[in-house]
């Protein structure tokens, strides 16, 4: 009869707290470097394909990246970039303001009351699936060639995003926190400010992020058809001159600008406002 002997496993080498911290830091630096390398490789591959395509396609179909780069540089240096982008950004921003003013109350009603949910649900869903082009055309018919067209089309395309997300946020409010607040005698104003608004903030950010990408496109599109200035207008002008360099240059500037706004401005702002979320802290 032999009892099973439990042998102590050989002790892992002792690591001090500082050593552990240093190891973890090194590992996360390694992940960061790897991600950066992949990103660079992706961009390099894209430029290479573009360069090769420009070389093998018949002359004049696709200009090489460097040529487009030169035109981009000219646009930026001449001041046309700043002028037209500010025009477009201004219109998009105004469209967002209108969309929030209309969409947020609709979303609040939908999230709070079944009656209003039934009332708005189909309309909002349908509005969200209508192609952005339709809104662009509609805005042009209503306002003709003016700044109001792009503003209206941005507003129309963003309202469903804002409404659906705010409704989701209102439904996501933790009722046990509301009851806790009531039990401690908090006023409905305090409950709105301390429970409802903080719950809604992430949803509103999601709405802005989602509608931002679509709103920009429809804004530019409306300008193509009926703008007086702005990025879309410039793309159309170059198109009328059969100037592919110009079209591509404006397009690239447009993409770069969007990436900067999305990655830097919105993401940074979101991380700051939502610092309390555990998943936000992990990345830091």
């Amino acid at each position: 009869m032999s009892n099973p002997v439990v042998e102590a496993s050989p002790a892992a080498p002792a690591v001090t707290w500082q050593e552990g911290e240093a190891l973890a830091r090194k590992a996360s630096a390694r992940t960061r470097r790897k991600r950066l390398a992949l990103l660079t490789a992706g961009w390099a591959a894209m430029f290479l394909i573009w360069q090769l395509a420009a070389y093998y396609l018949p002359f004049g179909v696709l200009p090489a990246p460097l040529e487009v780069g030169e035109v981009m540089w000219d646009i930026v240096v001449s001041g046309a970039f700043a002028e037209n982008f500010f025009a477009s950004v201004g219109k998009t921003f105004l469209g967002f303001v209108v969309a929030t003013a209309v969409g947020a109350p609709i979303g609040y009603l939908m999230g709070r009351y079944d009656y209003w949910k039934a009332f708005f649900h189909d309309g909002v869903t349908v509005a969200g699936t209508i192609p952005a082009l339709t809104y662009a055309v509609l805005s042009l018919i209503i306002f003709g060639i003016s700044d109001l067209g792009p503003i209206l089309s941005v507003a129309l395309v963003s309202v469903p995003f804002v409404a659906i997300n705010v409704a989701e946020g209102v439904r996501g409010v933790d009722q046990s926190l509301v009851r806790m607040s009531q039990a401690f005698g908090r006023s409905s104003r305090q409950i709105r400010r301390e429970v409802f608004v903080p719950t809604l903030v992430p949803y509103v950010f999601a709405a802005i992020r989602m509608s931002f990408a679509v709103a920009w496109k429809v804004e530019a599109l409306t300008e193509v058809f009926g703008g007086k200035n702005g990025v879309g207008f410039q793309i159309r002008s170059e198109y009328q001159l059969f100037n592919i360099d110009g079209v591509l240059a404006w397009m690239c500037l447009f993409i770069i600008f969007m990436l900067i706004v999305e990655r830097l401005v919105l993401r940074k702002l979101e991380n700051r406002v939502l610092a309390w979320r555990p998943e936000e802290r992990v990345g830091k």
Binding site: S176, L177, R179, M180, S181, A183, F184, G185, R186, Q190, E194, V195, P198, A275, W276, R277, P278
Partner: protein, 254 residues
Amino acid sequence: MAVLTVNDLCKTFGAGTARSNRVLDHISFDVRGQTFVSIVGPSGCGKSTLLNIISGVETHTSGAISVTSDDGRPARLGYVFQDPRLLPWRTVRKNMMYVQDKDDEVTRGRVDRYLDMVGLGKHGDFWPGQLSGGMQQRVGIARAFAVEPDLLIMDEPFSHLDAITARGLRAQLQDIWAQSKKTVVFVTHDVVEAVELSDRIIVLQPGGRIYEDITIDLPRPRRQSDPAVATLQAEVLARLEKMKAMTPQVAASV
């Protein structure tokens, strides 16, 4: 002086309908100031309903209930829930301040003092998400004490914690209570916990009547390891077993 007076209280859900269900049946008791009273009973005996009526969340069908303060101003209630119920987007200290009526030096000092008492004096600027479940519940307890309530209501505050954490928190609760001497109504289904903490245990039976009103006269601080505590726990448990035997129609789990 009685802080909480419950007189001939009845509660019937769906009164006058075919599904009429009486959950509290002519209940009367007083809770004197500075005492720790537990309400114990199997699931479905009306503990939660009684608590909801005391806190004003639910109305009663007949009878009277009143909470009074020492000095005539409206009585202030403090709550500890089963879960911590902290605002995740506010730091620990801001969570404590949220339920305070004033934001002055005295209040901030009091909040910090209670945080110290639950051993979280250094965690005031942490987000709740950075704390363990037990630590969050300690914040919940500190928050309730820090409003200096006339009556502190605790609704099974340790039932979601593991045994070791719960034991530590019970010891801590006794210390804070000994220092602050608040009037506490503590609801639990755990008799052992009730004996360790209370001056008095009110046992509810299925159907919503008071089965027994037991005075616990043991010196404090009490610890679970104390033989006198263990003896009394066994005795109270035996009495509840008897009650359970008398009401076999209800699958009671005491």
